[in-house]
Symmetry: D2
Subunit: 327 residues, 4 copies
């Protein structure tokens, strides 16, 4: 990142931990971007006390949005958050030059930070992956977070490389969605040994407690679209060192996460984001649970199944008051 | 595909088999698109008698080119070929809506056909993959070819689905780079049993003879950038039923393909396309063997190693006259 | 292999190409080894003119048979073949010392050659895989064939290593079930360039024609349990250079191979071997189509589906006379 | 498991949690089983206060030991432990009937429980995997633990199936070496919701703290061969609810685990177990760090590298007194 990184405009809105939900992108039934729903959703997240929002992640439909839509999503997120929390934006694309274009567009649209994956589609190895992040880091005017998501890009980021890129200033942090808790421990240990150049987020919403023990600074939980209060409470308990409360909240959220497994008619990406959107529709936060092509909205029994899990969790309107502090 | 598919403008330039090289995208040392080199390369392919050209495939750097560059590559290919052979263009992008944008741009730039992969990055399964191709087929004004390339998209296309999409008119053909010869045989058998709705190309340049036996109509060989004459001769021998000649030519080309394995400093995509570009530079066809970020050009010992293989194959200038017909 | 390799006892029964079916291991309904059925099956293969038999391969249930049963299977195969063709035996086990025990037992039971995979279960890499085969080769008194089957052992054997092990005398040949026709071409080219130290078999019954073009000396087709005559005819056509006949026979056999895909109630290993055994039962060759634990025999609609494919192929009794030579 | 499961002989030695190291199998330089070293090693583990020992796991060289050696290893472990803690034995083999033979042998040799993986080598799916464990459970006279180790068997065990097998009595517990902490959380939640039929062990020595939070009852840490005291202390802190101490100990042990990554000459299984054996040799516990074929012992710089990590951790003789309790 170049010198303007610490400029007043952006320096005050760095994502340095806490709860940063990967916000879903609501669509109308006709698959148009549903701005009022997006506004309500972000408003609710801010009310819950999240520490930032992350748009255009895997959950945020980056892979489905045209470039024009990506810009609109960022612009609306920036407008709605109005500087209260940082807005991170995914700059997901196949290889370096295409990512740089996404970076330019994201910065112009006002993103406070960007999140980039390893190169994908064409096969690359360690030297290219390093160079890819170095190049992005050099060209960025905002903090860059590495997005470790082998499920999507079929490459695991090396913990040693990540810490070196943190020390060199190319990376500000990591969002770990690798599903590899052993590697995450190594990353956290290396990072701490080197003075903590990286802010570490876990993307796995059902094992955040373990990630906190390992050294995570924050979490980017897709499920926080549905229950932001739970993640904010869990993070507060973590800061207080109240591990019993952390664990209790995590167990509750892990049970809620079953919404992503109850749909019978869809699998893969559509089962996860489809259930988040369905839950948000049932909660009255967004207007429709439509998904982008080539997926379709959950309906019929699948909606009922999501509703049942939400009901059990007490997350259907009228919503209950938040629980009292546990101590 | 809609009604204009059989319009006079495009109907005469359908790729219905033969040799259709996936053309590399030459760059200057500064990584600008090198149009004069591109022109010489296409000219040479046409002189060899290829049946079409395929730009913006995996070999053609689709994953590395910005959208602007993609359009320029197609426009130049259309200009240089001047209607003598069809120009197929890759419309490589992650999910349906993004591919549709690539499709619009490719058509506007004059492509005679487009080549689309399964969705990638976000995980999809059979129903979404089918719908993806159906949607592309409905929206396209030119023939659509399915690009089966699990190495890049991590999904194998089902032979039964492909034939059904051929029968429905969504697909005109398949470029098979799956590396799964058993599945290709099934595809060819199914296709023949249904009257051959699909034109079948293999993308594996070293086993084209077996693919012809199995039922391929043509080949999309990256190595044809380096030795187009060999592939044209092999296809002619195939049409003549001269299997001994087919096999002899294939063995020779398979030996030449070792250029993709001799580089010591690079692996993955860069080893393959890097060696093709290096060979073309050594042959005087393109000016520089530069690769896009995050790769660098082959140099030093790697260039010498490519040169040695080329020399053994008699493919360094001054090039020998083409061999006499073998019978 | 030590000096006794060329001893009169074994030297005359080396598998040097042709059709070598991986014989299924018939079971009674109670899952006892059904020797009379095994005898009929081998008798039929010999009558068809196969060049060897391969017991205890993946098709032959090696992974399911106890050590005691493995010995019995080899002994019966040796007894029934009575020296007319070589008997190859799989020595499938996880790591070197366990394979050496299988080797000793197989030799003692009279096997004319053994077939060994790369190590599996514990993760090994190139140096260990090479040493594994070297050790087996040193200890064997009969020819050793490398079994390249990544589907089962999750390691692909390197063509260069295989040829070196052929040159050193450790390996007599390769059974390629890798599904990687590109690598098989490389293997065949390297092998030929080094004087052909290895006898090359393909294990993929539906693309044998392409493998012959690439350089295969023979085939180990599971489907030959069901139609040995077809594979023997195809090999004869290959020796005669009659590629049109090779291809015709291969297309017919590839259509027959659909028996492995029609079962609705079982997947994986059980679908393949289950359909072979079912076809053999329907043809009256073996008494029952039972499978070893944890699989069960195909029944009901699955048997009918196999029957339908067999009937279409004219392979249900009373069987038709063999076709006249095609030229 | 049949009725004798709760017999007095075995019922008192059920592994119901705590620290159960997967004991390495020491070899002499000539690759003979080194019983005196094995005795010293087990003695040391018992002195540290472990809750059981697990022989013939992946770490214990099950895949490398002949059947005869497997029996000897179990017999010696039973003799040395003399009933003080339960002895679990791996019954690792490819498919059901072969595992049943291993089960019989293990029981006869005196094992208090057995640990079985999913079937491997031949491809199986959910119905066969379930039947496999059911059959083993029916035939066993001792508790059966499922070993979830996709790295070796290339199948992930389904949490729902495991809990059902626990409820039916087929399984007593699970050793989770899947590397999938998200699935482990689901397993733990399901298990708790069903009354906890399964005892849950994690096999990942560097993230045990997170596993405890998720619901693990114990740990099977390869690294406990080298530092049993650390794992026993961590488990005690877990029982006391002292999460800060758990985490501190885990971070220390995770740093020590780097011994498995410092060898430059070997990868895969040999790097892990090779480093454990080397550390034990340097500590004077076992006589030699030999590995089974096709691996060789670590030597030269690799031994020095292991020594350096051990020294930093204060784990070289003369060993320091154990640290005082941290609170």
């Amino acid at each position: 990142m170049n010198a303007s990184r610490s400029s007043p405009q952006t320096g005050t809105r760095t994502a340095s931990g806490g709860v940063v939900p990967p916000v879903v992108t609501p669509l109308t039934e006709d698959r148009e971007f549903d701005v009022p729903s997006f506004e309500r959703l972000i408003g609710r997240l801010l009310a819950a006390g999240v520490d930032g929002v992350f748009v255009l992640g895997s959950t945020g439909e980056a892979a489905f949005c045209t470039d024009e839509l990506r810009v609109r999503v960022i612009e609306e997120a920036v407008r709605v958050t109005a500087g209260r929390v940082p807005v991170l934006a995914g700059v997901i694309d196949t290889q370096t030059d295409r990512v740089l274009r996404q970076l330019e567009a994201a910065q112009e649209a006002g993103a406070d930070g960007v999140v980039a994956t390893a190169p994908f589609y064409a096969v690359t190895h360690a030297p290219q992956i390093r160079r890819h992040f170095e190049t992005i880091g050099e060209r960025a005017d905002v903090p860059v977070y590495a997005y470790d998501i082998p499920l999507c890009v079929h490459t695991k980021l090396d913990p040693g490389m990540l810490v070196e890129l943190g020390l060199s200033g190319a990376l500000a942090g990591v969002k770990d969605s690798s599903g590899d808790d052993v590697a995450f421990r190594r990353l956290a240990l290396h990072n701490r040994a080197e003075g903590g150049p990286l802010t570490l987020f876990t993307g796995h919403e059902v094992v955040v407690d373990g990630a906190y023990l390992a050294g995570a600074d924050g979490v980017v939980p897709g499920l926080a679209n549905v229950d932001p209060d739970g993640y904010v409470r869990m993070h507060a308990a973590f800061r207080d060192g109240d591990w019993a409360a952390v664990r209790r909240e995590q167990d509750r959220l892990a049970a809620l996460f079953e919404i992503t497994r109850v749909a019978g008619s869809v699998t893969g990406w559509g089962a996860g984001v489809g259930s988040f959107k369905t839950a948000l529709m049932l909660q009255g936060v967004i207007a429709h649970n439509q998904l982008p092509e080539p997926f379709g909205a959950l309906d019929g029994d699948d909606v009922e199944a999501v509703k049942a899990v939400l009901g059990t969790a007490g997350l259907l309107p009228p919503l209950p008051p938040p629980p009292l502090p546990s101590r």
